[in-house]
Protein backbone atom coordinates (compact mmCIF):
# COMPACT_ATOMS: atom_id res chain seq x y z
CA UNK A 1 0.00 0.00 0.00
CA UNK A 2 1.30 3.43 -0.92
CA UNK A 3 1.53 5.87 1.93
CA UNK A 4 1.73 9.56 1.19
CA UNK A 5 3.15 11.79 3.84
CA UNK A 6 3.92 15.47 3.88
CA UNK A 7 7.46 16.23 4.98
CA UNK A 8 8.21 19.24 7.13
CA UNK A 9 11.51 21.00 6.84
CA UNK A 10 12.77 23.44 9.41
CA UNK A 11 15.11 26.27 8.73
CA UNK A 12 18.40 26.17 10.62
CA UNK A 13 17.35 29.42 12.25
CA UNK A 14 14.27 27.77 13.86
CA UNK A 15 16.27 24.77 15.02
CA UNK A 16 18.93 27.04 16.46
CA UNK A 17 16.33 29.10 18.32
CA UNK A 18 14.85 25.89 19.79
CA UNK A 19 18.30 24.78 20.89
CA UNK A 20 18.93 28.16 22.51
CA UNK A 21 15.58 28.00 24.32
CA UNK A 22 16.38 24.52 25.67
CA UNK A 23 19.83 25.59 26.84
CA UNK A 24 18.42 28.72 28.48
CA UNK A 25 15.75 26.71 30.30
CA UNK A 26 18.38 24.24 31.49
CA UNK A 27 20.39 27.17 32.82
CA UNK A 28 17.33 28.51 34.65
CA UNK A 29 16.65 25.06 36.19
CA UNK A 30 20.20 24.89 37.53
CA UNK A 31 20.16 28.49 38.78
CA UNK A 32 16.80 28.18 40.56
CA UNK A 33 17.96 25.05 42.35
CA UNK A 34 20.43 27.24 44.31
CA UNK A 35 17.64 29.51 45.60
CA UNK A 36 15.57 28.17 48.50
CA UNK A 37 11.91 28.70 47.53
CA UNK A 38 10.55 25.98 49.78
CA UNK A 39 8.03 23.69 48.10
CA UNK A 40 8.00 25.93 45.00
CA UNK A 41 11.44 24.62 43.99
CA UNK A 42 9.87 21.37 42.85
CA UNK A 43 7.02 23.09 41.04
CA UNK A 44 9.34 25.41 39.16
CA UNK A 45 11.62 22.54 38.14
CA UNK A 46 8.59 20.54 36.92
CA UNK A 47 7.14 23.47 34.96
CA UNK A 48 10.47 24.16 33.25
CA UNK A 49 10.96 20.46 32.43
CA UNK A 50 7.43 20.27 30.99
CA UNK A 51 8.06 23.36 28.87
CA UNK A 52 11.26 21.83 27.53
CA UNK A 53 9.45 18.59 26.77
CA UNK A 54 6.72 20.52 24.96
CA UNK A 55 9.28 22.39 22.82
CA UNK A 56 11.03 19.14 21.87
CA UNK A 57 7.69 17.56 20.96
CA UNK A 58 6.41 20.49 18.96
CA UNK A 59 9.54 21.19 16.92
CA UNK A 60 11.99 18.29 16.98
CA UNK A 61 9.23 15.69 16.89
CA UNK A 62 7.08 17.72 14.44
CA UNK A 63 3.93 17.55 16.58
CA UNK A 64 3.14 21.16 15.63
CA UNK A 65 2.51 20.06 12.07
CA UNK A 66 0.79 16.72 12.61
CA UNK A 67 -2.89 15.91 12.03
CA UNK A 68 -5.61 15.64 14.64
CA UNK A 69 -5.24 11.89 15.16
CA UNK A 70 -1.66 12.15 16.37
CA UNK A 71 -2.36 15.22 18.48
CA UNK A 72 -5.33 13.49 20.15
CA UNK A 73 -3.30 10.32 20.63
CA UNK A 74 -0.57 12.29 22.32
CA UNK A 75 -2.99 14.24 24.49
CA UNK A 76 -4.58 10.89 25.43
CA UNK A 77 -1.25 9.65 26.76
CA UNK A 78 -0.80 12.84 28.79
CA UNK A 79 -4.33 12.48 30.12
CA UNK A 80 -3.63 8.93 31.29
CA UNK A 81 -0.36 9.92 32.87
CA UNK A 82 -2.28 12.62 34.73
CA UNK A 83 -4.81 10.06 35.93
CA UNK A 84 -2.14 7.63 37.08
CA UNK A 85 -0.41 10.31 39.12
CA UNK A 86 -3.55 12.00 40.48
CA UNK A 87 -5.39 8.79 41.40
CA UNK A 88 -2.38 7.67 43.41
CA UNK A 89 -2.95 10.78 45.49
CA UNK A 90 -6.37 9.43 46.55
CA UNK A 91 -4.21 7.10 48.59
CA UNK A 92 -1.24 9.22 49.62
CA UNK A 93 -3.28 12.38 50.30
CA UNK A 94 -5.78 10.68 52.61
CA UNK A 95 -3.56 8.16 54.38
Amino acid sequence: MKITQALHYFEYKTLFMVLLALLALTGITVSVSFIDLGKFNVWIALIIASTKGAIVLLFFMHMKYEGRVLVFSFLGTIFFLGIMISFTFWDVGFR
Binding site: M1, I83, M84, F87, T88, W90, D91, F94, R95
Partner: protein, 544 residues
Protein backbone atom coordinates in the same frame (compact mmCIF):
# COMPACT_ATOMS: atom_id res chain seq x y z
CA UNK B 1 -7.69 -19.77 -6.91
CA UNK B 2 -6.28 -23.29 -6.48
CA UNK B 3 -3.11 -22.50 -8.47
CA UNK B 4 -2.11 -19.59 -6.24
CA UNK B 5 1.03 -20.24 -4.20
CA UNK B 6 0.54 -19.92 -0.46
CA UNK B 7 2.78 -17.89 1.84
CA UNK B 8 4.42 -21.18 2.89
CA UNK B 9 5.85 -21.49 -0.64
CA UNK B 10 6.80 -17.84 -1.13
CA UNK B 11 9.36 -16.53 1.36
CA UNK B 12 9.50 -12.84 2.07
CA UNK B 13 12.17 -11.51 1.45
CA UNK B 14 12.42 -13.92 -1.50
CA UNK B 15 16.22 -14.37 -1.27
CA UNK B 16 16.03 -16.42 1.94
CA UNK B 17 15.44 -20.18 1.90
CA UNK B 18 14.82 -22.85 4.52
CA UNK B 19 15.08 -21.86 8.16
CA UNK B 20 16.32 -18.36 7.21
CA UNK B 21 13.09 -17.72 5.31
CA UNK B 22 11.43 -17.94 8.72
CA UNK B 23 14.02 -16.42 11.03
CA UNK B 24 14.52 -13.34 8.81
CA UNK B 25 11.01 -13.02 7.44
CA UNK B 26 9.02 -9.80 7.42
CA UNK B 27 5.77 -11.53 6.42
CA UNK B 28 3.22 -10.96 9.18
CA UNK B 29 1.78 -14.46 8.69
CA UNK B 30 5.10 -16.23 9.17
CA UNK B 31 5.85 -14.07 12.20
CA UNK B 32 2.41 -14.94 13.57
CA UNK B 33 3.17 -18.66 13.17
CA UNK B 34 6.59 -18.28 14.80
CA UNK B 35 4.80 -16.70 17.74
CA UNK B 36 2.26 -19.53 17.72
CA UNK B 37 4.82 -22.29 18.12
CA UNK B 38 6.96 -20.45 20.65
CA UNK B 39 3.90 -19.49 22.68
CA UNK B 40 2.57 -23.06 22.54
CA UNK B 41 5.92 -24.32 23.87
CA UNK B 42 5.79 -21.94 26.85
CA UNK B 43 2.12 -22.62 27.47
CA UNK B 44 2.51 -26.41 27.58
CA UNK B 45 5.58 -26.05 29.82
CA UNK B 46 3.67 -23.82 32.25
CA UNK B 47 0.69 -26.22 32.16
CA UNK B 48 2.97 -29.04 33.25
CA UNK B 49 4.47 -26.85 36.00
CA UNK B 50 0.93 -26.09 37.18
CA UNK B 51 0.26 -29.84 37.18
CA UNK B 52 3.30 -30.42 39.42
CA UNK B 53 2.09 -27.71 41.85
CA UNK B 54 -1.37 -29.26 41.96
CA UNK B 55 0.05 -32.77 42.44
CA UNK B 56 2.09 -31.53 45.40
CA UNK B 57 -1.02 -29.91 46.90
CA UNK B 58 -3.12 -33.06 46.55
CA UNK B 59 -1.70 -34.38 49.82
CA UNK B 60 -0.78 -32.62 53.04
CA UNK B 61 2.87 -32.02 53.88
CA UNK B 62 5.84 -32.47 51.60
CA UNK B 63 4.97 -35.03 48.92
CA UNK B 64 7.73 -34.86 46.35
CA UNK B 65 9.02 -31.27 46.10
CA UNK B 66 10.40 -29.01 48.81
CA UNK B 67 8.81 -25.74 49.92
CA UNK B 68 11.56 -23.72 48.17
CA UNK B 69 11.04 -25.54 44.88
CA UNK B 70 7.28 -25.07 45.29
CA UNK B 71 7.73 -21.29 45.70
CA UNK B 72 9.90 -21.09 42.60
CA UNK B 73 7.50 -23.29 40.63
CA UNK B 74 4.41 -21.17 41.26
CA UNK B 75 6.45 -18.06 40.42
CA UNK B 76 7.71 -19.66 37.21
CA UNK B 77 4.20 -20.88 36.34
CA UNK B 78 2.84 -17.35 36.86
CA UNK B 79 5.63 -15.54 35.01
CA UNK B 80 5.45 -17.86 31.98
CA UNK B 81 1.68 -17.88 31.81
CA UNK B 82 1.34 -14.12 32.20
CA UNK B 83 4.29 -12.67 30.32
CA UNK B 84 5.01 -15.42 27.80
CA UNK B 85 1.54 -16.81 27.12
CA UNK B 86 -1.60 -14.82 27.96
CA UNK B 87 -0.37 -11.30 27.19
CA UNK B 88 1.09 -12.11 23.76
CA UNK B 89 -1.07 -15.15 22.84
CA UNK B 90 -3.96 -13.59 20.98
CA UNK B 91 -2.48 -10.30 19.72
CA UNK B 92 0.89 -11.74 18.68
CA UNK B 93 -0.40 -14.91 17.03
CA UNK B 94 -3.85 -14.13 15.65
CA UNK B 95 -3.45 -10.36 15.64
CA UNK B 96 -0.32 -10.61 13.56
CA UNK B 97 -1.82 -13.14 11.21
CA UNK B 98 -5.33 -11.74 10.80
CA UNK B 99 -5.33 -8.03 11.58
CA UNK B 100 -3.86 -7.02 8.19
CA UNK B 101 -6.18 -9.48 6.44
CA UNK B 102 -9.27 -8.25 8.23
CA UNK B 103 -8.60 -4.68 7.11
CA UNK B 104 -7.72 -5.78 3.56
CA UNK B 105 -4.02 -4.98 3.46
CA UNK B 106 -0.87 -6.99 2.78
CA UNK B 107 1.16 -6.53 5.97
CA UNK B 108 1.54 -4.51 9.14
CA UNK B 109 2.84 -0.95 8.91
CA UNK B 110 6.30 -1.77 10.33
CA UNK B 111 7.18 -5.32 9.17
CA UNK B 112 10.79 -5.21 10.40
CA UNK B 113 9.71 -3.87 13.78
CA UNK B 114 7.30 -6.78 13.89
CA UNK B 115 10.16 -9.24 13.49
CA UNK B 116 12.16 -7.35 16.11
CA UNK B 117 9.23 -7.78 18.52
CA UNK B 118 9.41 -11.55 18.03
CA UNK B 119 13.16 -11.55 18.75
CA UNK B 120 12.59 -9.48 21.88
CA UNK B 121 9.91 -11.93 22.93
CA UNK B 122 12.31 -14.84 22.45
CA UNK B 123 15.10 -12.96 24.21
CA UNK B 124 12.79 -12.34 27.18
CA UNK B 125 11.98 -16.06 27.36
CA UNK B 126 15.65 -17.04 27.17
CA UNK B 127 16.60 -14.55 29.89
CA UNK B 128 13.86 -16.05 32.10
CA UNK B 129 15.40 -19.51 31.55
CA UNK B 130 18.88 -18.17 32.34
CA UNK B 131 17.60 -16.90 35.69
CA UNK B 132 16.53 -20.48 36.46
CA UNK B 133 20.11 -21.70 36.32
CA UNK B 134 21.81 -18.78 38.06
CA UNK B 135 21.04 -18.58 41.77
CA UNK B 136 17.59 -20.08 41.31
CA UNK B 137 14.34 -18.72 39.97
CA UNK B 138 12.65 -16.07 42.16
CA UNK B 139 10.28 -17.19 44.89
CA UNK B 140 8.32 -13.94 44.92
CA UNK B 141 5.31 -14.83 42.81
CA UNK B 142 4.79 -13.10 39.45
CA UNK B 143 4.02 -9.80 41.25
CA UNK B 144 7.61 -9.29 42.52
CA UNK B 145 6.29 -7.38 45.56
CA UNK B 146 8.74 -5.33 47.63
CA UNK B 147 10.26 -5.55 50.21
CA UNK B 148 10.62 -9.33 49.68
CA UNK B 149 11.72 -9.02 46.03
CA UNK B 150 14.49 -6.65 47.11
CA UNK B 151 15.73 -8.78 50.01
CA UNK B 152 15.37 -12.37 48.73
CA UNK B 153 18.60 -14.10 47.70
CA UNK B 154 17.06 -15.67 44.57
CA UNK B 155 17.73 -14.23 41.14
CA UNK B 156 14.98 -11.62 40.99
CA UNK B 157 17.00 -9.15 38.88
CA UNK B 158 17.36 -11.46 35.87
CA UNK B 159 13.71 -12.56 35.96
CA UNK B 160 12.56 -8.96 36.28
CA UNK B 161 14.79 -7.99 33.37
CA UNK B 162 13.18 -10.76 31.32
CA UNK B 163 9.76 -9.22 32.03
CA UNK B 164 11.18 -5.81 31.05
CA UNK B 165 12.34 -7.13 27.65
CA UNK B 166 9.00 -8.85 27.09
CA UNK B 167 7.31 -5.53 27.88
CA UNK B 168 9.22 -3.83 25.07
CA UNK B 169 8.09 -6.56 22.65
CA UNK B 170 4.50 -6.03 23.74
CA UNK B 171 4.71 -2.25 23.35
CA UNK B 172 6.18 -2.47 19.86
CA UNK B 173 3.44 -4.85 18.76
CA UNK B 174 0.83 -2.42 20.12
CA UNK B 175 2.43 0.50 18.31
CA UNK B 176 2.55 -1.49 15.09
CA UNK B 177 -1.12 -2.45 15.28
CA UNK B 178 -2.36 1.07 16.05
CA UNK B 179 -0.41 2.47 13.10
CA UNK B 180 -1.56 -0.34 10.81
CA UNK B 181 -5.23 0.18 11.66
CA UNK B 182 -4.98 3.93 11.16
CA UNK B 183 -2.90 3.97 8.02
CA UNK B 184 -3.41 0.75 6.09
CA UNK B 185 -7.14 -0.01 6.12
CA UNK B 186 -8.81 -0.38 2.77
CA UNK B 187 -10.20 2.98 1.74
CA UNK B 188 -13.75 1.66 1.69
CA UNK B 189 -13.49 0.45 5.29
CA UNK B 190 -14.76 3.10 7.68
CA UNK B 191 -14.35 2.81 11.45
CA UNK B 192 -17.79 1.22 11.79
CA UNK B 193 -16.93 -1.45 9.21
CA UNK B 194 -13.89 -2.78 11.01
CA UNK B 195 -14.33 -6.37 12.26
CA UNK B 196 -14.72 -6.69 16.02
CA UNK B 197 -11.54 -8.72 16.50
CA UNK B 198 -9.55 -5.89 14.95
CA UNK B 199 -11.45 -3.37 17.07
CA UNK B 200 -10.54 -5.33 20.20
CA UNK B 201 -6.89 -5.35 19.11
CA UNK B 202 -7.05 -1.61 18.62
CA UNK B 203 -8.31 -1.09 22.17
CA UNK B 204 -5.72 -3.57 23.48
CA UNK B 205 -2.88 -1.89 21.64
CA UNK B 206 -3.58 1.43 23.29
CA UNK B 207 -3.44 -0.18 26.70
CA UNK B 208 -0.18 -1.94 25.73
CA UNK B 209 1.30 1.32 24.60
CA UNK B 210 0.19 3.44 27.55
CA UNK B 211 0.49 1.08 30.50
CA UNK B 212 3.54 -1.07 29.71
CA UNK B 213 6.12 1.72 30.21
CA UNK B 214 4.92 2.08 33.81
CA UNK B 215 5.75 -1.50 34.72
CA UNK B 216 8.95 -1.44 32.69
CA UNK B 217 10.25 1.48 34.73
CA UNK B 218 9.01 -0.10 37.96
CA UNK B 219 10.83 -3.35 37.26
CA UNK B 220 14.01 -1.42 36.54
CA UNK B 221 13.55 0.34 39.89
CA UNK B 222 13.49 -3.08 41.59
CA UNK B 223 16.83 -3.93 39.96
CA UNK B 224 18.25 -0.54 41.00
CA UNK B 225 17.04 -1.11 44.55
CA UNK B 226 18.68 -4.53 44.66
CA UNK B 227 22.06 -3.29 43.45
CA UNK B 228 22.23 0.32 44.65
CA UNK B 229 19.65 0.47 47.47
CA UNK B 230 18.32 3.97 46.88
CA UNK B 231 15.47 3.39 49.33
CA UNK B 232 12.59 4.17 46.96
CA UNK B 233 10.37 1.61 48.64
CA UNK B 234 11.98 1.69 52.08
CA UNK B 235 10.02 3.73 54.69
CA UNK B 236 13.10 4.13 56.90
CA UNK B 237 14.68 6.14 54.08
CA UNK B 238 11.62 8.12 53.03
CA UNK B 239 10.41 5.50 50.54
CA UNK B 240 6.99 3.86 50.30
CA UNK B 241 6.46 0.11 49.83
CA UNK B 242 2.85 0.71 48.71
CA UNK B 243 4.19 2.91 45.91
CA UNK B 244 5.60 -0.24 44.32
CA UNK B 245 2.16 -1.84 44.41
CA UNK B 246 0.58 1.24 42.82
CA UNK B 247 3.16 1.28 40.04
CA UNK B 248 2.98 -2.48 39.50
CA UNK B 249 -0.83 -2.60 39.29
CA UNK B 250 -1.03 0.55 37.13
CA UNK B 251 0.20 -1.78 34.41
CA UNK B 252 -0.78 -5.17 35.68
CA UNK B 253 -4.45 -4.48 36.11
CA UNK B 254 -4.85 -2.94 32.64
CA UNK B 255 -2.77 -5.94 31.55
CA UNK B 256 -5.65 -8.27 32.40
CA UNK B 257 -7.62 -6.30 29.82
CA UNK B 258 -4.72 -6.68 27.39
CA UNK B 259 -5.24 -10.38 28.01
CA UNK B 260 -9.03 -10.52 27.83
CA UNK B 261 -9.98 -7.89 25.21
CA UNK B 262 -8.60 -9.80 22.19
CA UNK B 263 -10.32 -12.91 23.59
CA UNK B 264 -13.61 -11.02 23.59
CA UNK B 265 -12.84 -10.00 20.00
CA UNK B 266 -12.42 -13.65 19.02
CA UNK B 267 -15.76 -14.57 20.58
CA UNK B 268 -17.41 -11.65 18.78
CA UNK B 269 -16.16 -13.17 15.50
CA UNK B 270 -17.15 -16.76 16.21
CA UNK B 271 -20.66 -16.28 17.63
CA UNK B 272 -22.24 -14.54 14.60
CA UNK B 273 -20.56 -16.88 12.09
CA UNK B 274 -22.01 -20.02 13.68
CA UNK B 275 -25.35 -18.37 14.42
CA UNK B 276 -25.58 -17.22 10.77
CA UNK B 277 -26.81 -13.99 12.16
CA UNK B 278 -25.56 -10.45 12.33
CA UNK B 279 -23.96 -9.67 15.67
CA UNK B 280 -26.27 -7.98 18.12
CA UNK B 281 -25.13 -4.48 19.09
CA UNK B 282 -22.04 -4.02 16.89
CA UNK B 283 -21.58 -0.40 17.95
CA UNK B 284 -22.20 -1.23 21.61
CA UNK B 285 -19.51 -3.93 21.46
CA UNK B 286 -17.06 -1.50 19.84
CA UNK B 287 -17.85 1.13 22.46
CA UNK B 288 -17.58 -1.40 25.28
CA UNK B 289 -14.10 -2.48 24.04
CA UNK B 290 -12.91 1.10 24.25
CA UNK B 291 -14.75 1.62 27.55
CA UNK B 292 -13.07 -1.47 29.04
CA UNK B 293 -9.69 -0.19 27.89
CA UNK B 294 -10.31 3.22 29.49
CA UNK B 295 -12.21 2.21 32.65
CA UNK B 296 -9.92 -0.80 33.15
CA UNK B 297 -7.00 1.60 33.47
CA UNK B 298 -8.60 3.39 36.42
CA UNK B 299 -9.09 0.52 38.85
CA UNK B 300 -5.62 -0.79 39.58
CA UNK B 301 -5.67 -0.26 43.33
CA UNK B 302 -8.49 -2.77 43.93
CA UNK B 303 -5.64 -5.27 44.34
CA UNK B 304 -4.46 -3.32 47.36
CA UNK B 305 -7.38 -3.06 49.78
CA UNK B 306 -5.47 -4.89 52.49
CA UNK B 307 -2.09 -3.25 51.82
CA UNK B 308 -2.59 -0.26 54.11
CA UNK B 309 -3.96 2.12 51.51
CA UNK B 310 -6.18 5.03 52.65
CA UNK B 311 -9.90 4.37 53.11
CA UNK B 312 -10.74 7.13 50.62
CA UNK B 313 -8.69 5.38 47.95
CA UNK B 314 -10.37 2.07 48.78
CA UNK B 315 -13.80 3.68 48.36
CA UNK B 316 -12.93 5.34 45.04
CA UNK B 317 -11.26 2.30 43.50
CA UNK B 318 -14.03 -0.02 44.67
CA UNK B 319 -16.63 2.23 43.06
CA UNK B 320 -14.68 2.42 39.80
CA UNK B 321 -14.25 -1.35 39.74
CA UNK B 322 -18.01 -1.80 39.57
CA UNK B 323 -18.08 0.53 36.57
CA UNK B 324 -15.90 -1.89 34.54
CA UNK B 325 -18.49 -4.61 34.98
CA UNK B 326 -20.91 -2.66 32.77
CA UNK B 327 -19.07 -2.83 29.42
CA UNK B 328 -18.11 -6.46 30.12
CA UNK B 329 -21.77 -7.30 30.69
CA UNK B 330 -22.75 -5.46 27.48
CA UNK B 331 -20.55 -7.88 25.56
CA UNK B 332 -21.93 -10.99 27.25
CA UNK B 333 -25.53 -9.88 26.68
CA UNK B 334 -24.76 -9.04 23.04
CA UNK B 335 -23.27 -12.50 22.39
CA UNK B 336 -26.25 -14.23 23.98
CA UNK B 337 -28.66 -12.00 22.06
CA UNK B 338 -26.83 -12.91 18.84
CA UNK B 339 -27.37 -16.59 19.51
CA UNK B 340 -31.08 -15.99 20.17
CA UNK B 341 -33.12 -17.25 17.20
CA UNK B 342 -29.94 -17.80 15.22
CA UNK B 343 -29.43 -20.77 12.91
CA UNK B 344 -26.85 -22.34 15.18
CA UNK B 345 -24.27 -24.71 13.72
CA UNK B 346 -22.29 -26.47 16.46
CA UNK B 347 -18.56 -26.72 15.77
CA UNK B 348 -15.51 -26.95 18.07
CA UNK B 349 -14.82 -23.18 17.89
CA UNK B 350 -18.43 -22.39 18.84
CA UNK B 351 -18.38 -24.98 21.62
CA UNK B 352 -15.26 -23.38 23.09
CA UNK B 353 -16.78 -19.92 22.63
CA UNK B 354 -19.90 -20.97 24.57
CA UNK B 355 -17.69 -22.39 27.34
CA UNK B 356 -15.88 -19.06 27.32
CA UNK B 357 -19.12 -17.13 27.90
CA UNK B 358 -20.05 -19.30 30.86
CA UNK B 359 -16.62 -19.42 32.49
CA UNK B 360 -15.89 -15.77 31.88
CA UNK B 361 -19.26 -14.80 33.36
CA UNK B 362 -18.48 -16.77 36.53
CA UNK B 363 -15.03 -15.19 36.61
CA UNK B 364 -16.50 -11.72 36.10
CA UNK B 365 -19.16 -12.11 38.78
CA UNK B 366 -16.70 -13.47 41.34
CA UNK B 367 -14.57 -10.46 40.44
CA UNK B 368 -17.28 -8.28 41.94
CA UNK B 369 -16.85 -10.15 45.23
CA UNK B 370 -13.22 -9.07 45.12
CA UNK B 371 -13.97 -5.58 43.82
CA UNK B 372 -16.22 -4.82 46.79
CA UNK B 373 -13.88 -3.79 49.58
CA UNK B 374 -15.90 -5.43 52.38
CA UNK B 375 -15.91 -8.94 50.92
CA UNK B 376 -12.43 -8.62 49.44
CA UNK B 377 -10.87 -8.11 52.87
CA UNK B 378 -12.34 -11.50 53.85
CA UNK B 379 -11.13 -13.47 50.81
CA UNK B 380 -8.03 -11.46 49.89
CA UNK B 381 -4.98 -13.64 49.14
CA UNK B 382 -6.99 -16.83 49.51
CA UNK B 383 -7.63 -19.57 46.94
CA UNK B 384 -10.79 -17.66 46.01
CA UNK B 385 -8.58 -15.14 44.20
CA UNK B 386 -6.68 -17.92 42.43
CA UNK B 387 -9.96 -19.47 41.26
CA UNK B 388 -11.38 -16.12 40.13
CA UNK B 389 -8.21 -15.24 38.24
CA UNK B 390 -8.11 -18.60 36.47
CA UNK B 391 -11.81 -18.39 35.60
CA UNK B 392 -11.28 -15.05 33.85
CA UNK B 393 -7.82 -15.62 32.41
CA UNK B 394 -7.89 -19.32 31.58
CA UNK B 395 -11.66 -19.76 31.30
CA UNK B 396 -11.66 -16.46 29.41
CA UNK B 397 -8.48 -15.83 27.45
CA UNK B 398 -7.28 -19.46 27.47
CA UNK B 399 -10.57 -20.74 26.04
CA UNK B 400 -10.67 -17.85 23.57
CA UNK B 401 -7.15 -18.84 22.47
CA UNK B 402 -8.29 -22.42 21.82
CA UNK B 403 -11.50 -21.19 20.15
CA UNK B 404 -9.38 -18.93 17.89
CA UNK B 405 -7.00 -21.79 17.18
CA UNK B 406 -9.85 -24.04 16.07
CA UNK B 407 -11.59 -21.23 14.17
CA UNK B 408 -8.62 -19.99 12.17
CA UNK B 409 -6.52 -23.19 11.97
CA UNK B 410 -7.95 -24.14 8.53
CA UNK B 411 -7.18 -20.63 7.26
CA UNK B 412 -3.64 -20.57 8.67
CA UNK B 413 -2.56 -24.06 7.60
CA UNK B 414 -5.13 -24.99 4.95
CA UNK B 415 -6.04 -28.18 6.83
CA UNK B 416 -9.21 -29.19 8.63
CA UNK B 417 -8.94 -31.15 11.88
CA UNK B 418 -10.94 -34.00 13.36
CA UNK B 419 -14.04 -32.60 15.09
CA UNK B 420 -14.63 -35.59 17.35
CA UNK B 421 -11.21 -35.42 19.00
CA UNK B 422 -11.54 -31.65 19.29
CA UNK B 423 -14.87 -32.04 21.09
CA UNK B 424 -13.51 -34.72 23.44
CA UNK B 425 -10.49 -32.52 24.23
CA UNK B 426 -12.68 -29.47 24.81
CA UNK B 427 -15.09 -31.41 27.05
CA UNK B 428 -12.23 -32.85 29.11
CA UNK B 429 -10.75 -29.39 29.40
CA UNK B 430 -14.03 -27.79 30.49
CA UNK B 431 -15.02 -30.59 32.86
CA UNK B 432 -11.53 -30.73 34.34
CA UNK B 433 -11.55 -26.96 34.64
CA UNK B 434 -14.71 -27.02 36.77
CA UNK B 435 -13.40 -29.83 38.98
CA UNK B 436 -10.13 -27.99 39.37
CA UNK B 437 -11.23 -24.44 40.13
CA UNK B 438 -14.65 -24.72 41.81
CA UNK B 439 -13.08 -26.47 44.86
CA UNK B 440 -10.63 -23.56 44.98
CA UNK B 441 -13.52 -21.10 45.36
CA UNK B 442 -14.79 -23.13 48.31
CA UNK B 443 -11.31 -23.52 49.81
CA UNK B 444 -10.85 -19.76 49.53
CA UNK B 445 -14.14 -19.02 51.24
CA UNK B 446 -13.09 -21.43 53.99
CA UNK B 447 -9.95 -19.35 54.40
CA UNK B 448 -7.17 -21.32 52.72
CA UNK B 449 -4.41 -18.84 51.79
CA UNK B 450 -2.91 -18.92 48.32
CA UNK B 451 0.77 -19.61 47.58
CA UNK B 452 1.08 -21.84 50.68
CA UNK B 453 3.08 -25.04 50.40
CA UNK B 454 1.07 -26.85 53.08
CA UNK B 455 -2.40 -26.55 54.62
CA UNK B 456 -4.58 -27.46 57.58
CA UNK B 457 -6.44 -30.82 57.60
CA UNK B 458 -9.84 -29.21 56.86
CA UNK B 459 -8.60 -28.22 53.38
CA UNK B 460 -7.45 -31.73 52.43
CA UNK B 461 -10.59 -32.89 50.63
CA UNK B 462 -10.87 -29.87 48.34
CA UNK B 463 -7.21 -30.02 47.36
CA UNK B 464 -7.44 -33.75 46.70
CA UNK B 465 -10.41 -33.35 44.33
CA UNK B 466 -8.88 -30.37 42.55
CA UNK B 467 -5.93 -32.59 41.60
CA UNK B 468 -8.18 -34.87 39.52
CA UNK B 469 -9.66 -31.86 37.74
CA UNK B 470 -6.15 -30.72 36.84
CA UNK B 471 -5.35 -34.14 35.37
CA UNK B 472 -8.46 -34.09 33.13
CA UNK B 473 -7.65 -30.56 32.07
CA UNK B 474 -4.08 -31.40 31.08
CA UNK B 475 -5.21 -34.46 29.09
CA UNK B 476 -7.83 -32.33 27.32
CA UNK B 477 -5.30 -29.62 26.42
CA UNK B 478 -2.78 -32.11 25.01
CA UNK B 479 -5.51 -33.94 23.08
CA UNK B 480 -6.68 -30.72 21.43
CA UNK B 481 -3.16 -29.58 20.58
CA UNK B 482 -2.09 -32.98 19.20
CA UNK B 483 -5.31 -33.21 17.18
CA UNK B 484 -4.40 -29.93 15.51
CA UNK B 485 -0.71 -30.68 15.06
CA UNK B 486 -1.25 -34.06 13.37
CA UNK B 487 -3.17 -32.31 10.59
CA UNK B 488 0.16 -30.85 9.46
CA UNK B 489 1.07 -34.29 8.13
CA UNK B 490 -1.91 -34.51 5.82
CA UNK B 491 -2.50 -32.71 2.50
CA UNK B 492 -4.16 -29.31 2.45
CA UNK B 493 -7.88 -29.82 2.22
CA UNK B 494 -9.51 -26.74 3.75
CA UNK B 495 -11.74 -24.53 1.65
CA UNK B 496 -11.24 -20.77 1.43
CA UNK B 497 -14.27 -20.26 3.64
CA UNK B 498 -15.07 -23.47 5.51
CA UNK B 499 -17.34 -21.84 8.11
CA UNK B 500 -19.27 -19.24 6.13
CA UNK B 501 -17.53 -16.16 7.53
CA UNK B 502 -18.07 -12.63 6.28
CA UNK B 503 -14.87 -10.86 7.28
CA UNK B 504 -12.16 -10.35 4.67
CA UNK B 505 -9.83 -13.18 5.69
CA UNK B 506 -12.42 -15.64 4.32
CA UNK B 507 -12.24 -14.08 0.85
CA UNK B 508 -8.79 -15.53 0.20
CA UNK B 509 -7.51 -19.11 -0.27
CA UNK B 510 -6.50 -21.24 2.73
CA UNK B 511 -3.61 -20.79 3.44
CA UNK B 512 -3.41 -17.26 2.05
CA UNK B 513 -0.88 -16.13 -0.58
CA UNK B 514 2.08 -13.92 0.33
CA UNK B 515 0.22 -10.64 -0.23
CA UNK B 516 -2.92 -12.03 1.39
CA UNK B 517 -5.42 -11.58 -1.44
CA UNK B 518 -5.60 -12.87 -5.01
CA UNK B 519 -8.17 -10.26 -6.02
CA UNK B 520 -9.12 -7.07 -4.24
CA UNK B 521 -11.31 -8.06 -1.27
CA UNK B 522 -14.83 -6.68 -1.20
CA UNK B 523 -15.62 -4.66 1.93
CA UNK B 524 -19.21 -5.14 3.07
CA UNK B 525 -21.25 -2.13 4.13
CA UNK B 526 -21.77 -3.99 7.38
CA UNK B 527 -19.04 -6.47 8.39
CA UNK B 528 -21.47 -9.11 9.71
CA UNK B 529 -24.00 -9.20 6.90
CA UNK B 530 -24.83 -12.89 6.42
CA UNK B 531 -27.34 -12.43 3.61
CA UNK B 532 -24.89 -13.77 1.00
CA UNK B 533 -23.74 -16.64 3.22
CA UNK B 534 -27.30 -17.75 3.99
CA UNK B 535 -28.18 -17.64 0.26
CA UNK B 536 -25.09 -19.70 -0.61
CA UNK B 537 -25.83 -22.32 2.03
CA UNK B 538 -29.53 -22.61 1.16
CA UNK B 539 -28.55 -23.14 -2.49
CA UNK B 540 -26.21 -25.95 -1.42
CA UNK B 541 -28.87 -27.65 0.72
CA UNK B 542 -31.34 -27.46 -2.17
CA UNK B 543 -28.76 -29.15 -4.37
CA UNK B 544 -28.47 -26.24 -6.79
Amino acid sequence: METVKSFFETPSPARFKGIWSWLLTTDHKRIGLMYLFSILFWFLLAVLLGGVIRLELMFQGETFISAEVYNSLFTLHGVIMIFLFIIPALPAVFGNFFLPMQIGTDDVFFPKLNLLSWYLYMAGGIIAIISLFSDGFPDTGWTFYVPFSISTHTNVSTAVFAAFVLGIASMLTGLNFITTIHRMRKKQMGWMQIPLFTWSLYATSWVQLLATPVVSITLLLVIIERYVGVGLFDPSRGGDPILYQHLFWMYSHPAVYIMILPGMGVISEIIPVFSRKSIFGYKAIVASSMAIAIAGSLVWAHHMYTSGMSDTAIFVFSLLTFVVAIPSAIKVFSWVATLYKGSIQMTPPLFLALCFIYLFSVGGLTGLVLGAAGTDIYVHDTHFVVAHFHFTMFGGTGFAFFAALHYWWPKMFGRMYDFKKAYIGAILLTGGFMFHYVPMFILGLQGMPRRYFDYLPQYAKGNFFAGFGAAFMIIGIFLMVINLLITLRKPMDAKADPWGGTTLEWQTPSPPPLHNFVTEPCVLDYPYDFTGVVKKYSKNTKGE
